[in-house]
Amino acid sequence: MTRRDDQRTGAVRLAATFLRVGVMNEVQYRINFFIQLVQSLLTIATGLTALALVFSHTDELGGWTKPQLLAVMGVFTMVGGLIRTVIQPNMQRVVEDVREGRLDFALTKPADAQVLVSVRDVRFWQLTDVIVGLVVLIVALVQIGDSVSARDLAVFIGVLLVGLVTIYCFWLMLASASFWLIRMNEVQELFDGIYRAGQYPVGIYPGWLKYGLTFLVPLAFAITVPSEAVTGRLTWQAVAVAGATTVGMIVFSRWFWRRGLRRYDGASA
């Protein structure tokens, strides 16, 4: 193995260890599971009510039927849960650490700083959203009635992972912006606000917003494309665009992160 390969497997092992410790930490507080579950159920109740209201006045929305939109809602909830489990807590911690001058502690460790800051926190119980979203998705698929083949399922998981990577890159860029901007507390509100747009397929939005939600904030790849995969709407062009954009975002976000890092001069330590 070359030295580069060594580093890569090292990064994976490091991430796995950190995630395991994070999960063990969270599992100590079991009552939080029920609190999170209630919250997930209330959130999905909100979404379902909104959907019911929409479909009390119409039969289809921008070419999507009710069960199809229900599938989108399921994916939206699942992806939201995954983001809040691993991506958001870590990226917010970067923002806080930069402001407080505590990022030094991560930077002085003998591992890739980007890997390290991306795996320090796990909000394990946020996975309740993934469970609830999955249930909604399954109900939707049963209502649609078409059988989902193993191939569809594999494609779904594949594009879902690609979508999550784009969201991670996007959050990394947001977090890196904190090297320039001091007060970023509101960045989470910003993301949460924009994320809500993903509960409908981006195709229903007017052009400027559709492209914004595809290339600026990549919700299309994280939610709409996987939803298309399970509702038999996915085109190969969409997969190709998603793949190319993801590669571009990985490269760009890493470059942006390192540029920000060069600006950082810690105040503590």
Binding site: Q39, L42, T49, A50, V54, E186, E189, A197, L209
Partner: protein, 281 residues
């Protein structure tokens, strides 16, 4: 520091002192909000998305049904949700979730030493922030108007009532959420309760959709809660359709809920503070 002004001042100078305290707190809050304009804009952009989604979804439905759904056209939906944004922003008050932090940090203890009821600090600080919010909202509203073409033709009376109603809504929401937040003095496992409260508010206030699009039973149910007077009423006061009678009724209902809220806050506060103990702060 002089001694507590409570006993030594007459009623008139007391009101005067309270007035100047409000002005000072509001000014400080305006300055600090302006200090962090970028943060304030981040916050507002996040908030723009919610009404824009509703607006696009409902305009799409209206267009696919011959241009109208339950009396709303894309233009009146646009007016509703653009005004919605301002009302929503004015409606933001100290969150009940914040009480846990206040109590945990123990810095609330110093508030108790001051001779004025602590709710006045929240009311003044958040009210000051609203002036910044309104200024920041104007360009966003202008941009959205150019995109979505709202049809908005308020009368002079409607404008006047709207101006009063947004502050009425602000007071109702401040009082009710303050009272709700005080539950934290008894138990900290309240987040699920708050979430349920906000869900009920979302559905019964006119925040998700205008009241006219809700099922009948939900519209009737909404009369039992303060919610509709904090969203649907101020918005509809400006956008219409609304009769003069409904305008005045709305203000009266707001006054009623402000009264109820004040009484509840006073009663709960007295009990809550009796339970409070803290070290340091």
């Amino acid at each position: 520091m002089t001694v507590s002004p409570n006993g030594s001042l007459g009623a008139e100078s007391k009101t005067h002192a309270m007035g100047s305290m409000y002005l000072t707190l509001m000014r400080t809050s305006i300055i600090s909000q302006f200090q962090y304009r970028a943060a304030a804009y981040f916050y507002m952009i996040g908030m723009v998305v919610e009404p824009v989604i509703y607006l696009i979804v409902w305009s799409t439905i209206a267009r696919s049904h011959g241009g109208e759904v339950a009396g709303f056209t894309p233009g009146t939906f646009a007016a509703y949700y653009i005004v919605w944004m301002l009302v929503r922003n004015v409606n933001i008050v100290f969150t009940p979730f914040g009480w846990e932090w206040r109590i945990k940090e123990g810095n609330f203890a110093s508030q108790l030493l001051k001779p004025v009821h602590p709710i006045h600090y929240d009311l003044a600080e958040f009210a000051g922030g609203k002036l910044v919010v309104i200024i920041l909202w104007l360009p966003i509203a202008l941009a959205l108007s150019l995109i979505f073409h709202p049809s908005l033709h308020p009368s002079l009376l409607q404008c006047g009532v709207f101006f009063l109603a947004i502050w009425g809504a602000y007071l109702i929401r401040s009082l009710v959420l303050w009272a709700l937040g005080l539950i934290t003095f008894w138990t900290t496992r309240v987040s699920a309760l708050y979430e349920a409260y906000f869900l009920a508010e979302l559905l019964l206030s006119g925040r998700l959709v205008p009241m006219q699009l809700m099922p009948r039973w939900a519209q009737t149910l909404s009369w039992a809660f303060p919610f509709r007077w904090t969203f649907a009423f101020p918005i509809t006061a400006l956008t219409g359709p609304i009769s003069e009678r409904e305008l005045l009724e709305g203000l009266a209902m707001q006054a009623l809920w402000i009264g109820v809220g004040t009484i509840v806050v006073m009663l709960v506060w007295r009990r809550a503070v009796a339970r409070f103990s803290s070290v340091g702060g």
